[in-house]
Symmetry: C2
Subunit: 353 residues, 2 copies
């Protein structure tokens, strides 16, 4: 091992990793434990080979264009859920990572880990959904890989997609650009994907008409850019939900975020299911929604453009950036009080994407 | 599902998939069963969303440059083996996919699937090896993802890497360019990686000094291009070994390949281990070797340039392309006979990469 990497002889699990010597489900939740794993294990291990903050999409200058490059692995269970499958999730998840830096997706790779004994019919089903989602998103499937692992060492199908896209000339979108005064907009109903997947989990089935919101968001982003607005930040609130995403942005930009819970678009069925299960809807995953930070002067026309787009019909202003409490997200509750919206620590809903 | 994808109502597992309704380990072996899975399941499922043949690396024109884009998932067991770990394999595997179309690697994504209960120390070990390998290969780790699956649904660590690179202006390298007369060169000793991994498999341990040949090959390819030779085909013979790779090239180009077994650089220990285990060294995986198809007029200087490079010191001519038996690979044996070198059907060595 080179001197830029972890010294394995002296490496001990650092305290911030919650004193756990082993991986627990919470490390995959997209919250504080996931962040600690990256900060205290992966980044020191990668040393100077790591570039930037290992964000959702990297930006690479190349021959006069800005290329976006991103990867995401999907381990959702079950493979098929109301409104979607692991296949379309694998397309839309990576397309959205690209869209959140202002890129139009160009090409995807697809890499499958198949478990011995999985029915070919089931694989055909999710691969077909993947192909259909790629056509719908206008992205080409250009390269792939397939591995097989022994029964008991996988879970049917895991899919990784990586994607490349070309960033719109008009876009300079990154978490660090959030500034006090920015208006925070969400593109529609939140908590829908997580509740849809949970509703069909073995041992947990409950009746709901909620279907996953999985969708590709680059068309919506284009419509927002077409307004001429200077979009400061875009992020899709997936694992860890709106709570995790807003906390990450607040920390990255060193600003506070003040929300008003009365303005959150949360469907009644999501609210009911979260109440029943003891979940915070702000921590529940979405797969077809985005959060936008824009200047107050741009907010009205961005909101109007979003509402005119099928994927932004329920867009709403949910809060704004403030100079106070940098790195913190607070919300005025429906009862008029104020609460801190924490970064989730571990795993509220395991294997949701 | 759209009409371009598999009609799931009428889809039945096609006969070429060996009449198996379920995934078997052989589908991941890189041989005939892997090819059937792609041809009869993935490509029909993807429909018109699939571009080109889902080869190891896609070539994408972008702003005046030719971009190479590739993905590979690593499920090797054990995670640490003589000469390497899953971490450096994950770097070199994808770097080599890029190098085989003549690209210099630019950036990699890394995506981990971690199994609940895995020791953080073990993850730090392979992540550190990954970082060190990336530095050695001169490639940046620019974006990543981490997922956690429940104990019993993973196997410690799986890693996917996707990579992008810029293709050398001098290169037009693809399997279809093989023509009768081409000289076939291998860059060094074959069968080394597979035997190294097998030697430490639980229940199969045997004493050997063989260490994996895992290495990044883009520097060697540069040295070959520097000769001014027109390289027709390059491929790294990983899963399925030299046998699978040569069969794929023969099929893609519609040429025959005639080998001479007496010229194969096979270390004695590899030969002995293969004899003991009943393996064909031509079907054993390599992770730091390449096969090159070049014009006869270019062969001497390409071979000289390879031998002058540390990763090509044992380079040797092993055969040539012929107009006879298109799509078939035959070898003159050490005893003077001739045998057909088949595309392996299934899995000789499961989870070798």
């Amino acid at each position: 091992m080179s001197d830029v990497s972890i010294d394995l002889q002296s490496w001990v699990c650092p305290a911030p990793l919650r004193d756990a010597p082993n991986i627990v489900m919470g490390h995959g939740g997209g919250g504080a434990m996931s962040a600690e794993l990256i900060e205290h294990l992966f980044l020191p291990a990668y040393g100077t080979a790591a570039d930037a903050g290992l964000g959702d999409a990297a930006v690479i200058g190349l021959g006069g264009v800005r290329l976006a490059f991103s990867t995401d692995t999907f381990v959702v269970r079950p493979l098929v859920f109301p409104g979607g499958t692991i296949g379309d999730l694998a397309v839309n998840g990576t397309v959205n990572d690209l869209a959140m830096v202002g890129a139009q997706p160009l090409a995807l790779s697809t890499a499958f880990i198949l478990e011995e004994g999985t029915a070919l019919q089931d694989i055909a089903h999710v691969a077909s959904a993947l192909g259909t989602a790629a056509l719908a998103a206008g992205v080409r499937l250009v390269t792939g890989d397939t591995k097989v692992v022994d029964a008991g060492h996988g879970d049917g199908v895991f899919i990784n997609t990586a994607g490349i896209g070309v960033i719109d000339d008009r876009a300079d979108i990154r978490p660090q650009r959030a500034v006090p005064g920015d208006v925070v907009i969400v593109s529609g109903d939140i908590g829908v994907h997580g509740v849809a997947v949970l509703s069909c989990r073995e041992g947990l089935e409950f009746a709901t008409t909620i279907a996953s919101d999985t969708a590709p968001l680059h068309g919506l982003v284009s419509a927002m850019l077409d307004t001429g607005a200077d979009l400061h930040v875009l992020r899709d609130p997936t694992r860890g939900g709106v709570a995790a995403t807003l906390n990450e942005i607040a920390t990255a930009a060193g600003v506070g975020v003040a929300l008003d819970e009365r303005h959150f678009p949360i469907p009644g069925e999501v609210r009911d299911a979260c109440g029943l299960l003891g979940l915070d809807p702000l921590q529940v995953a979405n797969e077809g929604k985005l959060l936008a930070f824009v200047r107050p002067a741009d907010a009205d026309r961005v909101l109007a453009a979003m509402r005119a787009h099928p994927l932004g019909a329920h867009a709403a202003v949910i809060g704004h950036c403030v100079p106070d409490h940098p790195g913190m997200v607070v919300a005025r509750t429906a009862l008029g009080g104020t609460r801190v919206v924490d970064l989730p620590i571990g795993e509220q809903l395991p294997r949701i994407c």
